[in-house]
């Protein structure tokens, strides 16, 4: 049973973006402070849990990386997937979900082990908003489900629990399948052992090259800082003691509640 986890990473949101935003500046920000997104972490943890319960599971982690020294490779490698590979992310059309899907499908075809199950976060990195995972499934002609919390393997099927609108559902899909994973408190990524953290520092990770013929059908014409949307009112700070503050809040909320 071969499981592939696709990892993209994000620029750490604790650090502000560069003042003069450009594609190269954003890449620089990501390189300086890269970390796994909550969705990357959840996908990786599901793969590790599946191997915990079934030693026949073989995990390959494919990490979008700027170089063999990308810290994300070491972060992922320290959690001991069976194979950790980089995928050269330089020049990829990260804003084009379908273009990325074609690149990733090509990269998957270069791997030694064809995946039975492909796990990835519900958003593939900082540029994606959720189109890339389903496009990857389309490109690989695999079954697909989104917003997965947990998964178990049952013969030739994968059984997952997912969020669908306000409802949680259990879904069974025939393999091969792609699952895009969302964050869940019951699925926090484990910590690596210190010896593994030290060990990966010595590893020279292999980085695959991307398909050179892929051209994005969507061009990134410009990138700018999000402008805080103007609000029509200045914040009215409610003064007085707690009782006075609560009275004002209650009046405001009850007025709107009664208008429903």
């Amino acid at each position: 049973m071969n499981i592939l986890v696709l990892i993209c990473g994000i620029a750490d949101p604790k650090y502000p973006l560069p003042r003069d935003i450009s594609v190269s500046a954003l890449e620089g920000a990501r390189a300086a402070h890269v970390l796994l997104s909550p969705f990357d972490e959840a996908a990786l943890e599901i793969a590790l849990k599946l191997r915990d319960t079934n030693p026949a599971v073989h995990i390959t982690a494919l990490v979008l990386a700027r170089s063999a020294m990308d810290p994300l490779l070491r972060t992922v490698g320290s959690l001991r997937p069976d194979v950790t590979r980089g995928l050269d992310s330089n020049g990829l059309p990260a804003w084009d979900g379908l273009g990325m899907a074609r690149v990733l499908a090509d990269a998957v075809s270069q791997l030694e082990h064809a995946p039975d199950l492909l796990l990835l976060g519900r958003e593939l990195g900082d540029y994606d908003d959720g189109t890339a995972p389903v496009a990857v499934a389309q490109a690989l002609r695999m079954n697909y489900s989104k917003l997965i919390f947990s998964a178990t393997l049952e013969g030739a099927c994968v059984h997952g629990v997912r969020q669908n609108a306000a409802q949680q559902e259990s879904i069974r899909l025939a393999l091969p399948a792609v699952l895009s994973v969302t964050n869940d408190a019951r699925n926090k990524l484990r910590h690596p052992l210190l010896k593994n953290v030290m060990e990966v520092k010595k590893i020279a990770f292999k980085v695959l090259n991307c398909l050179q013929t892929t051209s994005a059908c969507v061009q990134l014409a410009n990138v700018g800082a999000a402008v805080e949307r103007p609000r029509s009112t200045v914040c009215q700070m409610v003064s007085g003691d707690t009782d006075a503050q609560v009275e004002m809040l209650a009046a405001l909320l009850l007025e709107k509640a009664s208008a429903q």
Binding site: G130, T131, A135, D184, V218, Q219, C235, V246, L249, L254
Partner: protein, 336 residues
């Protein structure tokens, strides 16, 4: 390229959308059509068992409303909906028109999946979750958030067909005059993929969903645990409001991912958004409409949330929330 293809915009309405969401999206799509001299087709999908219960909205431009039914559409999965939408777009009834240059869907995971599936099927461009879009010469231009809502991308494509979700903020003006769409029925019978093996998991959450709620009571990392969210839930119950939370609170398990608000979660446009223990990061604010009145409670007077709030209380939620809950339980009569 067929230049006539630039002249049509199609909106695909999903059966899971409520009427307000539909009308907001339709008015936003009509605004795009008005700005760029496009015709508007509305493709309203419904399951075999659903009836056409809604009143068609008046729009500022003439439009065609395609009431699309498929007897085989029993499971409202994104895959099934995408397949029926694709059949509608290529049906004989629509084939005499040029293909729509832009196909718009409602924002959210379901709309995004349909976008990606349709774009893949038609070899078009998937523009993702757009805040705005338009036509510039031979290209479609779209604006969308990235980096957790901190950056805005300007995307351009010359693809003949573009697929996107549109996050519309402006509610249609009530009572505004307009033109009722021309209603046409389209019954489809093309083959659909087998439905997935899905079983609902019983849950008991009596609170309304955040989408479409008039009041959302929401908490952030500052709530520090289940206890605080228990108070928020009780306040929401008192008000008949929805409960929401930021991504870190979902990560911590204090609130369900179905209630996650922000760039990676739901986009909400309630009249009041009660934000407690929320610092006001761009990632979270990206999920709140600019027309919403934010009422913030935070113990940090310098919290960024106060820069966008209409009203604010500087205080510890451990003090303010229990008192507020007691006051709300007394109801409106207590203040008379």
């Amino acid at each position: 390229m067929n230049t006539n293809a630039k002249r049509r915009v199609a909106v695909v309405l999903l059966p899971t959308q409520d009427t307000n969401e539909r009308h907001t999206l339709l008015h936003a799509a009509a605004a795009v059509c008005l700005s760029h001299s496009c015709e508007l087709d509305i493709i309203s999908l419904r399951a075999a068992t659903q009836s056409l219960a809604e009143q068609l909205p008046d729009l500022p431009i003439p439009s065609s409303w395609w009431d699309v039914r498929h007897e085989g559409l029993t499971e409202l999965s994104a895959q099934g909906l995408a397949e029926v939408a694709a059949q509608a777009l290529t049906s004989d009834a629509m084939a005499h028109k040029p293909p729509p240059r832009i196909v718009l869907l409602p924002p959210g995971p379901e709309g995004l999946e349909v976008v990606a599936r349709l774009a893949w099927k038609f070899g078009g461009a998937a523009l993702g979750q757009c805040n705005a879009l338009g036509v510039d010469g031979a290209e479609v231009v779209a604006w969308r958030a990235a980096f957790g809502g901190r950056a805005i991308l300007t995307l351009r494509t010359g693809q003949v067909q573009c697929f996107a979700t549109l996050r519309a903020e402006n509610q249609p003006t009530k009572g505004a005059s307009g033109i009722t769409p021309n209603l046409q029925t389209l019954v489809l019978t093309g083959a659909l993929s087998l439905p997935s093996d899905v079983t609902p998991i019983a849950q008991s959450d009596p609170l309304p969903a955040v989408e479409g709620a008039a009041i959302v009571v929401s908490g952030g990392r500052g709530m520090q645990g289940d206890e605080g969210f228990g108070l928020l839930r009780e306040i929401a119950e008192c008000l008949g409001a929805a409960l929401g939370g930021s991504l870190p609170t979902v990560d911590a398990g204090w609130v369900s991912v179905a209630r996650q608000i922000g760039q990676s979660g739901k986009f909400v446009s309630p009249r009041i958004y009660l934000a407690v223990g929320l610092s006001g990061t761009p990632q979270h604010l990206a999920g709140i409409s600019g027309t919403t009145r934010i009422v913030a409670i935070n113990k940090d007077p310098d919290a960024a949330i106060f820069k966008v709030a209409a009203a604010g209380v500087v205080g510890d939620w451990r003090v303010v929330l229990p008192a507020l809950l007691n006051r709300l339980r007394l109801g409106a009569t207590a203040s008379v």
